[in-house]
């Protein structure tokens, strides 16, 4: 169904965002459980999830804090994991940059993997959408995911350690990330970017303070961009 009004754009976003509750839900639940096991109370877990809204960064912070690292290293490591949202912000700017400032403030607060991935794909596929329609779609795509994010964080904190111990919850994060990225690998440059990022990411594991991730991500992006230029050159 084509988007004709701001309202229909919002509901299209809600619909497209709905499946991602199954991605955000387990993450939030897992964070609630792991944070409770690390000694955080329900209020601390909820504030953490509400203020930061970044699964991978929150897990990183928790992990590094438990290793008794200096506070500044904890923050820097988690921000390094979260650096990709700055890139998402840049990627969405051509589509949303002309919206009013207050909308951009809220959009920035809600910028996560899911809202970026959905909206960027939508705006790219339908360039005729107006800026208010794009914003409506964006906020729509966040709605259910955020409700589930906070709700499941609470549930995780509340049920805490009562879950069966042999449930392999630790691997929920890699599976969710892989399932998100696999459908995005559509062209040869995408594949090149992913493969280079994996190789550099594995080699850079000993690099301190999670900086390996930034190095590997940058290497992958450069490899993808370079592959795109080379393929275009051959086609011309």
């Amino acid at each position: 169904m084509p988007i004709t009004t701001t309202k229909s754009a919002f509901w299209a976003g809600v619909r497209d965002g709905a499946p991602f509750i199954f991605v955000a839900g387990p993450f939030a639940l897992l964070f609630g459980v792991l944070a409770t096991e690390a000694g955080l109370n329900v209020f601390e877990v909820m504030t953490f999830s509400l203020v930061v809204i970044a699964g991978a960064a929150q897990f990183t912070a928790l992990q590094v804090m438990e290793n008794d690292a200096p506070t500044v290293i904890v923050i820097l490591s988690a921000l390094a994991v979260n650096l990709r949202v700055a890139m998402y912000s840049a990627a969405l700017t051509p589509y949303l940059g002309r919206a009013p400032l207050w909308q951009r403030v809220f959009a920035a607060y809600l910028l996560v993997d899911q809202s970026y991935a959905l909206s960027h794909a939508k705006f790219d596929a339908e360039p005729e959408l107006s800026v208010p329609q794009r914003m409506a779609y964006y906020f729509g795509s966040c709605l259910l995911v955020m409700i589930v994010w906070f709700g499941m964080s609470y549930l995780g904190a509340a049920v805490g350690t009562q879950l069966p111990q042999d449930l392999p919850l630790d691997f929920a994060l890699p599976i969710a990330f892989l399932s998100m990225v696999a459908p995005m690998v559509r062209t040869l440059p995408h594949l090149v970017a992913a493969v280079v990022a994996v190789i550099v990411g594995l080699l850079a594991v000993p690099v301190p303070y999670s900086l390996g991730l930034i190095i590997a991500g940058a290497a992958g992006m450069m490899a993808g961009a370079q592959a795109e230029v080379m393929l275009k050159g051959r086609g011309a």
């Binding site: 991602f20 000694g39 601390e44 953490f48 203020v51 930061v52 912070a61 804090m65 923050i75 921000l79 994991v81 979260n82 990709r84 949202v85 700055a86 890139m87 912000s89 840049a90 990627a91 700017t93 940059g97 951009r104 403030v105 920035a108 607060y109 993997d113 970026y116 042999d166 392999p168 691997f171 994060l173 890699p174 599976i175 969710a176 990330f177 892989l178 399932s179 998100m180 990225v181 696999a182 459908p183 995005m184 440059p189 995408h190 970017a193 990022a197 994996v198 990411g201 594995l202 390996g212 991730l213 590997a216 991500g217 290497a219 992958g220 992006m221 450069m222 993808g224 961009a225 795109e228």
Partner: protein, 106 residues
């Protein structure tokens, strides 16, 4: 055990830092056009960063940094089904079922 002062410093620091990361371009750059070379690199953000984040978690998934074969197989199942079907949920289902079956069977 994590002490309370450290925890709250981390929560606030990470909250402010994350917001600034998210707001930088969207807020400060606004509608100024971004250069083509930058956009070309940004196209590969997700397909580079996410695999870089996941690869060590998969390869060093066992105890003390060893490789846990059940988790590697589950990761490959997720990736394979995801690339084949282009469907996030088919991929998650394949990964979760593979992992749970292998963990309980082996």
């Amino acid at each position: 055990m994590i002490d309370s002062a450290t925890l709250w410093t981390v929560i606030i620091g990470l909250g402010v830092g994350s917001f600034l990361l998210r707001f930088t371009f969207l807020g400060f750059v606004g509608d100024r056009p971004l250069p083509e070379w930058l956009l070309r690199h940004l196209r590969y953000t997700a397909v580079a960063i996410l695999p870089a984040l996941v690869a060590p978690l998969v390869v060093y998934s066992g105890e003390n940094g060893s490789t846990d074969i059940t988790r590697v197989v589950a990761a490959l199942a997720t990736l394979g089904v995801g690339m084949w079907t282009r469907n996030v949920f088919a991929a998650i289902g394949a990964g979760a079922v593979t992992l749970i079956v292998l963990v309980y069977v082996l």
